[in-house]
Amino acid sequence: MSNYYEEISQNVITGQLDRVKQLTQQAIDAGNDPVEIINQGLILGMSVVGARFKSGQMFVPEVLMSARSMTAGMDMVKPLILSEDIPSAGKVVIGTVKGDLHDIGKNLVSMMLESAGYTTINVGVDAGPEKFLQAVKEHKPNIIAMSALLTTTMLSMKDTIELLKEEGLRDKVLVIIGGAPISQDFADEIGADGFAPDAGSATDLCKKLLA
């Protein structure tokens, strides 16, 4: 009997949403282990997508189409599993900093992270230190990720880190930053744990930091 994993994974790669849903249902009906469907089918396919994107063989809209297919499959399998058994690579609170309404880059990072199996909590744009703090308290993420496009607004990243320190939460969470004016020097200067120049490497950075 086929366990459908190979086919699910292939269809995640090609972004065939309806086919992934159909196959996932068949896999469930056939009595396969839901966690295995996720690990051996859905996530496995997505990891191939990640690698292909990195090597320039796939483009963003295609990656997102694959991610959408994977998520659709996940949504079908998740109710069958105890929530603590649902594989998650980690939890990330993400937002664009105070004073900044530019969020295309942040959204892209968020989608890339989700497609790599992370749970993301998107706090949106114009997010001041308090908003990040509140999200940390509420969601207890592994990582917070801050984005800025402007050289003026990037200064707010430091304020967030300072506030986390004051609240005694700095040790509980990793801080990563990104955006056009951000560099590794700046990350070091304000005491962030990491910097990523683009969405693909943000995912790699999270993997590295949580390893």
């Binding site: 994107f53 320039g56 483009f59 963003v60 809209p61 309404l101 530019h102 295309i104 880059g105 892209l108 050289t151 003026t152 200064l155 056009a180 004016p181 560099s183 683009d198 969405a199």
Partner: protein
């Protein structure tokens, strides 16, 4: 011989070779699309002041969502001037933003700059803007100044004010400049008024254009829209420039990308015209595509030129001066790619007839500025201007008598006609046409090496015309005032 004993033409048509990327019908379709988006979908406005102006002006305001009835937007298009004349800092009217006149210049706020002496890629300092302004001042085909990088070694919230000072002190060309907020804009206008000899003189013969960027799709931050309002109140022209890229903040189709860009520009236009009818407005756009592999906003793609020329066609259809893009590159190093992308975009922007063409000297998809690239662009602009000059057809230039005199098998080298006209050829300064052996004997230099030498020479030796001591003091006093204000804020 003259082929005719009478003048055959009773009038002479002066036409520049022009590229029209969209037909009038297509322009109308795009504009109607933008009007429909503004009336149906509307825009998000993050400024109480602007919301109030829009409400009073007849827009449909709901929270910070504003929908714009088409008749109002059309009124604003009619109300805006079709021509804006910009002077240099000595009050001489030098840039006529009208028709299909084109003027090229650099761009603002790069994160990094390449040190022209060490080649290092680093954050910009005030001294870099000083260098940039000198180079801008010296290059004949660069018509206006912008800061070429955000200055990072001054009070962070006054980076704009310091950069403006550096430009005022080192060039007399017109300046397009940004500001963090209204306070800084006031500083900038005050400094400019000091140079022009009063605010009224500045308003009549402006040498500055203010610059504001909105955040597409259809979202306008408080700073962005407030600047448009501020400029109109002070009667200083503004460049309102959404930064629109297909596939990211606009659909992947070019037509829809134009719709978003036009709609977002019109939001700024309506705000300005509601504040002051007839206030000077230049429609912007950095408009290109998002590279779906690296996710950069591409400064070298064919689509940058395609969309910019398309947007220019719509601006010309609306008779609003246009701020376009050219002379920039995605390359990280001065190489063949940089030459290709800079030349391609300078040519197409020039042929499209956009009035202001900015971002000369932008490399690495706009993240880094390079004075070397700007120097190289100056040469390319020279070539493109020669092309824009077209071909003169009259008896003297047809030269039938000379052709007959020389006849089959002769040559024209020593002819008076050649002597009289060969200087019409464009004269290169950085483009090299030495024969192989001569070029080898001179050290087998690449164009990049020649460019570097020229840039360094300008920085070391060019002496911009200085302003009177009293004016410089006044400027310094305004900078000091701004410093004190910002110190109080902290």
């Amino acid at each position: 011989m003259s082929r005719s004993q009478y003048v055959r033409a009773n009038y002479q048509v002066n036409a520049t070779p022009q590229l029209k990327m969209l037909s009038d019908d297509q322009c109308e379709n795009v504009l109607n699309g933008a009007l429909e988006v503004l009336e149906r979908t509307g825009a998000e406005i993050h400024s109480e002041k602007a919301l109030e102006i829009f409400r009073k002006g007849g827009c449909w305001v709901d929270g910070n969502m504003v929908r714009f009835p088409s008749h109002l937007v059309e009124w604003a298009i009619r109300s805006a001037p079709s021509r804006i004349v910009i002077s240099n800092q000595k009050g001489e009217r030098t840039m006529f933003l009208e028709g299909q006149n084109v003027y090229y210049g650099p761009g603002p706020t790069n994160t990094y700059t390449i040190d022209p002496f060490t080649g290092e890629r680093r954050r910009a300092k005030k001294s870099d803007t000083v260098r940039a302004a000198k180079v801008i001042d010296a290059l004949p085909n660069i018509s206006f100044a912008m800061d070429c990088g955000t200055v990072m070694d001054v009070t962070p919230t006054l980076s704009d004010v310091h950069a403006f000072q550096a430009m005022l002190e080192n060039t007399n060309k017109p300046i397009i400049h940004w500001g963090f907020g209204i306070d800084q804009y006031q500083d900038i206008i005050d400094m400019a008024a000091a140079v022009a000899g009063g605010l009224e003189a500045l308003q009549r013969d402006p040498f500055i254009l203010l610059y504001s960027e909105s955040s597409p799709p259809l979202r306008h931050s408080g700073e962005a829209i407030d600047k448009a309002i501020f400029a109109a109140k002070n009667n200083i022209p503004i460049v309102y420039t959404p930064c629109t890229f297909s596939g990211g903040v606009a659909p992947a189709t070019m037509a829809a990308t134009l719709v978003i860009a036009v709609a977002d520009s019109l939001v700024g236009l309506v705000a300005g015209q509601l504040v002051r009818k007839g206030s000077g407005f230049v429609m912007g756009g950095l408009i290109s595509t998002m590279d779906m592999s690296s996710t950069i906003l591409s400064y070298g793609a064919a689509e940058l030129s395609l969309l910019s020329a398309g947007l220019t066609a719509v601006a010309r259809y609306m008779k609003i001066p246009m701020f376009s893009t050219g002379g920039c590159s995605d390359s990280k190093v001065i190489d063949t790619q940089m030459g290709i992308e800079a030349a391609f975009s300078i040519l197409i922007a020039g042929l499209s007839g956009a009035n202001l063409i900015h971002d000369c000297g932008y490399m690495e998809y706009g993240a880094t500025s390079s004075l070397d690239l700007m120097t190289m662009d100056d040469e390319i602009i020279g070539m493109v201007k020669k092309i824009l000059g077209g071909v003169l057809v009259d008896d003297e230039h047809l030269a039938l008598d000379i052709i007959d005199k020389v006849g089959p098998g002769g040559h024209y080298l020593a002819d008076d006609h050649t002597m009289a006209h060969f200087r019409e050829f464009w004269a290169p300064t950085l483009i090299n046409r030495l024969r192989f052996d001569g070029w080898k004997a001179e050290g087998s230099k690449t164009m990049a090496q020649r460019v570097k030498e020229k840039t360094q020479d300008i920085i070391n030796n060019h002496k911009p015309e200085q302003k009177p001591e009293s004016v410089l003091k006044e400027i310094q006093a305004i900078v000091d005032r701004a410093e004190a204000r910002e110190a109080n804020k902290r």
